[in-house]
């Protein structure tokens, strides 16, 4: 259902920056996106499932035979011998993003700088699919957040602290917060769908149409209709 290569629609520069989330548990990448904010948001929303380390990949603009995208990123890992990231709070969220230059093409026409794995686990594939779904929502639905930190502020409504209702209407604010919360807490794609269907019923769509971006809401309505028809 949810697909996105991770790349922009077109790019012409010689090398392109791709932000990739590395899962040390499965020793592979599980998500890539050209937009840093989206990658950071996915990192945050996946935090209770997998602490993910953020890399900046320089990928070639001229597509080699095998490159990295969201279809195959769980097949890519850090090169053998390269230090795996320690999972610490500061390294996850404060330290500079590590850059890997993948622009060289090897004799097989493959992108260099990373290694291709022989086997991909089913568990990492599920995690990757979930991350792509989260990224889809972050990119197409909830784009009003500029940073992952803002997003967490929105979701974590600690008592009377983070109610920034001066920026957006309270209903819209709560609506998007609920979507973030669903993405953060659900375990499967199916669970997300079910909860969002319930959420749409809970909120008054007419009110939201007046206050919420029509384009984004239409996206969601189409999605929910499809889910309901297929279930």
């Amino acid at each position: 259902m949810f697909t996105h290569s991770g790349y922009p629609r077109s790019f012409t520069v010689q090398k392109y920056r791709l932000y990739a989330l590395f899962d040390p548990r499965h020793d592979c990448f599980i998500y890539v996106n050209h937009n840093l904010s989206v990658a950071r948001s996915v990192q945050a929303l996946m935090s209770s499932k997998a602490p993910l380390w953020l890399y900046e990949l320089w990928v070639p603009a001229t597509t080699p035979k095998t490159t990295i995208d969201n279809n195959n990123c769980d097949s890519w890992t850090l090169p053998i011998g390269a230090p795996r990231p320690e999972i610490t709070f500061f390294q996850l969220h404060f330290e500079d993003i590590k850059i890997i230059d993948c622009t060289e093409i090897n004799s097989l026409g493959q992108m260099a700088g990373l290694d291709l794995k022989d086997n991909v686990s089913e568990e990492s594939k599920l995690l990757k699919d979930y991350a792509i779904m989260v990224g889809w929502f972050c990119q197409y639905l909830c784009t009003i957040e500029s940073t992952a930190d803002d997003m967490i502020s929105r979701v974590a409504i600690l008592d009377k602290v983070y109610q920034k209702t001066d920026i957006f209407d309270a209903d819209v604010y709560l609506f998007i917060s609920e979507i973030y919360k669903i993405l953060m807490l659900s375990l499967t794609e199916q669970e997300v769908k079910q909860k969002i269907i319930v959420l749409m019923l809970k909120f008054d769509s007419i009110v939201l149409v007046n206050k919420f971006s029509k384009q984004r809401l239409n996206f969601l309505k189409i999605l929910v209709d499809q889910w309901q028809q297929s279930s």
Binding site: S47, I87, T88, H93, T147, D149, I152, L158, V161
Partner: protein, 395 residues
């Protein structure tokens, strides 16, 4: 064996925290020590007025006791934890005083939270206040939204704790997850070789060649400035020190455990008190009477002593803090906690406001004075601005 071995750090450097402390003379040593030990007494001194701990002894000041050495303590981790929760709730009921838990979202403070939830009577939850940050929600969102949000009172740590006065401090019984790291094994950085190769559990620490090899494998040793200090300090001072003690410390792994546990006696008291004192003006008397030292318990200490040679209990496969994770899992039934939940230095995000002194991040095993505010701005910028603007408008 009497307890004095535990406070070996103080024996090694008599008067370090005692009444005759020549704190300035020792400052250089202390600062170097802090680099070595991380969980040592030094970091809190940086940027603070050292009179906060001058002329004091943390044991006398806080009333914390260290257990006599034992290697055959029979209580399980879960049994001790259950008792601690029952004791804390009893104290809260008797005093009719709410419990303020500083929850970082990490393993240690989540254990405290889960134990409190497990043993709470119906009206107890009205007396539970959880201070956390949005980062706590970030790390353990399932816990937050399932057990905390809209169920118990929550405070934003960054906003509320810095404004605590002695009076507001005294309104609560304070509890946190510190210093569980020292109980379990100490710093991860010191344990890496043993986690990678269990044979280290069987090699004697008296084999100085192997001991130095072990230390050379730790990530602490990678830091150029700590290399010589680490080797000199541990192999000369600590080896002599432990040699004189009547303990069952045999392997290199146990030695490293002991090295960290050695700092256990000062970690909680000095770290946290110094910050409360410097940032909020909380006197030692209030600290002593209103802090519930969860992990600073002789039963946990005896458990740690007994199991310091049992890596199968402390560790799972490439994992650690297994007893805590098992306890949490038994309650929340979330496999993530049992199978994977990594340690990411969670407590470091419970930040303290220290105007004109930079920001301080207190962790279980190290205290970092963050002079480079840019490292903290990502998380704290909004909090700082909001906090100051509220203060300004109030004035």
């Amino acid at each position: 064996m009497a307890t004095k071995f535990i406070n070996n750090f103080l024996i090694t450097h008599p008067g370090l925290l005692g009444a005759n402390t020549k704190i300035n003379k020792n400052l250089d040593l202390l600062q170097r020590m802090s680099v070595v030990g991380r969980g040592s007494v030094l970091e809190p001194l940086r940027g603070h007025n050292s009179t906060a701990i001058k002329n004091t002894n943390c044991h006398e000041m806080f009333g914390y006791k260290i257990a006599d050495w034992t290697s055959d303590f029979s209580m399980t981790w879960a049994e001790i934890t259950d008792l601690k929760a029952q004791e804390l709730w009893s104290q809260s009921r008797a005093l009719n005083r709410p419990v303020l838990l500083r929850w970082s979202g990490g393993i240690d403070s989540t254990l405290v939270l889960i134990a409190l939830l497990k043993h709470a009577r119906a009206d107890d939850l009205d007396r539970l206040v959880v201070a956390t940050t949005k980062s706590g929600v970030w790390e353990s969102s399932h816990i937050y939204f399932t057990y905390l949000a809209n169920k118990v009172k929550t405070l934003d740590f960054d906003h509320c704790i810095p404004s605590f006065t002695t009076d507001t401090f005294a309104n609560f019984i304070h509890v946190s997850g510190s210093p569980c790291d020292q109980l379990m094994i100490g710093m991860v950085a010191m344990s890496e070789p043993a986690l990678q190769d269990p044979s280290w559990f069987n090699i004697s620490w008296k084999n100085t060649v192997k001991l130095q090899e072990y230390l050379g494998l730790t990530s602490l040793h990678d830091r150029k400035q700590t290399k010589d200090i680490l080797l000199n300090y541990i192999t000369k001072i600590l080896c002599d020190n432990i040699e004189s003690l009547d303990t069952d410390i045999h392997s290199i792994h146990q030695f490293v455990w002991w090295f960290n546990f050695n700092f256990f006696s000062v970690a909680q008291g000095v770290h946290e008190y110094t910050h409360w004192h410097a940032d909020n003006g909380i006197p030692a008397s209030a600290w002593k009477n209103h802090v519930f030292p969860w992990f600073y318990d002789t039963r946990y200490q005896k458990w740690a002593m007994t199991n310091s040679s049992r890596p199968d209990i402390v560790f799972g496969k490439n994992d650690w803090k297994v007893p805590l994770k098992q306890y949490i899992y038994d309650y929340v039934q979330d496999p993530y906690w049992l199978e994977y939940k990594p340690k990411i230095g969670s407590h470091g995000r419970t930040t303290w406001k220290a105007p004109n002194k930079g920001w301080f991040a207190i962790t279980n095993d190290e205290t970092v004075n963050i002079h480079d505010l840019s490292r903290c701005r990502l998380i704290l910028e909004d909090s700082i601005n909001d906090s100051y603007s509220k203060q300004s408008s109030a004035q």
